[in-house]
Amino acid sequence: MTATSRLERPARRRAVPSPARPAGDRGGFGLFLLPGLLLCLLVIVVPLLMTIGVSFTRWTGVGAPEWTGLANYRRLLADDTVWASFRNIGFLIVAMAVLPTLLGLALAALLFDYVAKQAGPRTASAFRAGFYLPQVLPVAVTGIVWAWILHPGYGALNAILTGVGLDPLARNWLGDPTYALGSVMAIMIWFQLGYPVVMFVSGLRRVDPELYEAAELDGASWWARTTRISVHLIKPEIYVVLVTTTIAALKIFGPIFVLTRGGPGNATLVPSYFAYQNFFERVDVGYGSTISTVLTVIIVALVAVILRVQRREED
């Protein structure tokens, strides 16, 4: 999926108290939910339950699944490939969530608080648009662009390095297990950076300028203002960005499919690609379902933690 903003915050405002309504007024609204709920049942609930069910079986996709209890889960815990894929996800969370958030904070503060004032809001919004542009690309197209730039034979990067006399630095960026994951991480930082920048600048707009002026009169430095005031006030945005990008990293598929297919070896393998291989290449549907179920549990747990924290903050 597009690694963007799927989990924004729900309304923080409390519902406006509604005037007394005649009893039974709520009835009837249920009808409006019917199409949406049926659709979700068909496309999401039933398939999810089937995947969970199949995760306890051995199944090639043809004939009847054979019940094997927890065998797939035991296999998963002992499977080095699975552990490698989760280790890689750890690195991708750094590249897709942690680093873009930190860089995005710095850039957003700079654009909002310095560039907009020193060089005008038009310059600031041009910079912002420049950082955001990669975000609108289909991730698969991002992969094509970078696979070409990093190609060992005809790629632009190696040609540039050779051209300026740095040929010892030329590498097989995506084909060498030492550099493949690092290369994918760099690409994902490039892809993700615009999202936090845009979200944080929009958060900073909410901040009352008088707060800054007061802090400035008190002699607070630019750094102190940024870290003490801005970061504190746009906490909700930071939160949303960290959560959505972490979930996006957990689900990453397209860039891996196009750039490396998980290779070389397992150097860039991720759970979703490993599940895909089990479903459609190894026809080991039971095991693929087990991997998907584990991934689902991790994401649901993450969402549950977030909803809880959010609720606590609102109270």
């Binding site: 597009t2 903003s5 989990l7 924004e8 729900p10 309304a11 709520r26 609204f29 009808l31 409006f32 939910l33 949406g36 659709l39 979700c40 496309v43 999401i44 039933v46 398939p47 999810l48 995947t51 850039l107 654009l111 310095y114 004032k117 020193q118 648009a129 420049g130 950082f131 955001y132 542009l133 975000q135 609108v136 690309l137 289909p138 698969a140 197209v141 094509i144 662009v145 696979a147 005809y154 790629g155 632009a156 040609a159 540039i160 490039w190 615009g194 979200m199 958060g203 945005e237 689900k251 598929f253 499919f257 196009v258 599940a275 895909y276 693929g288 379902s289 998907s292 994401i299 649901v300």
Partner: protein, 278 residues
């Protein structure tokens, strides 16, 4: 605000560094455009950084006809536009019941829709593939439209419900006094008033669906049904792809995205989704 501390040198350094950073972000786009219009001989002789000796469009034209790119654009457009329209409709109906109607169990339902949107597609893909095969919807754009309508509208419901929850009650009551039923109130009062949010949703649904890769990859096996990202993605590593053909294919993939970006720039870069929630 007055120009403050930080004289000209600081200013020049900061703006200079930012300019370099933005140019680095945009460099891949420039490289793609530069080399997509070069002849293979030109590329071999003078490398990726040189300006093309003359405009060589054969690479792009050849690739366009080789993959029948026009057809892929139509496929992507049909799927994305249908999903955007249908998902907006479903989101509106759901949000009306949850936000305005306050049906029982609305908090749980909202969490349900949020989770429905955030689930990894890997957890749905095999049963969907299996079921679609059984009902004859495998390898069809219709199956994708139904699936993405469900996934996108789950998010839309979550977002729009919070907007509808604070919809001015006076407007609803005034309409009810005029004798308008629920259906009429929805389309004559609620939807027109919240049109900005609805159009933001439409924009994002369209672009998100356009960019989807995983499910279209699994569901669209026939060449003539593939969407742009799938058609380009599966050609990666094809032995017929050389440097200039690859950049031509990348340019064709980038171009529609850049067009959308230019059309929807305000919506996209203002954190419109975040704004819609405040």
């Amino acid at each position: 605000m007055a120009r403050r501390r930080g004289g000209r040198p600081t200013r020049a350094v900061v703006l200079g560094a930012l300019t370099v950073a933005v140019l680095l972000m945009l460099a891949p786009f420039a490289l793609v455009a530069l080399n997509a219009v070069k002849s293979p001989a030109d590329y071999a002789a003078r490398g990726p950084m040189a300006l093309p000796q003359r405009l060589h469009l054969a690479g792009i034209v050849d690739f366009w006809f080789r993959v029948d790119f026009g057809e892929k654009l139509v496929n992507s457009f049909v799927v994305s536009a249908s999903v955007a329209v249908l998902a907006v409709l479903v989101s509106i109906l759901n949000a009306y019941a949850l936000g305005v109607g306050r049906v029982r169990g609305r908090t749980l339902l909202l969490i349900f829709f949020l989770l429905a949107n955030l689930l990894p597609q890997e957890a749905l893909v095999y049963p969907l593939y299996h079921l679609a095969k059984q009902v004859g919807l495998y390898d069809s754009r219709l199956a994708l439209i139904i699936i993405f309508t469900a996934i996108q509208s789950a998010f839309g419901t979550y977002l729009l419900s919070s907007v509808y929850a604070v919809f001015p009650r006076e407007l609803l009551e005034a309409a009810a006094l005029d004798g308008a039923g629920r259906w009429r109130v929805l389309w004559r009062v609620v939807v027109p008033v919240t049109r900005p949010t609805v159009s933001v949703l439409f924009t994002f649904f369209f672009i998100w669906t356009w960019n989807e890769f995983f499910l279209p990859l699994v569901f669209l096996i026939s060449n003539d049904k593939q969407t742009v990202p799938v058609a380009l993605g599966v050609l990666q590593g094809d032995r017929l792809m050389d440097a200039t053909t690859t950049s031509a294919s990348a340019l064709l993939g980038v171009a529609p995205a850049v067009v959308f970006f230019l059309i929807f720039q305000r919506t996209l870069t203002r954190g419109a989704l975040a704004g819609a929630l405040k």
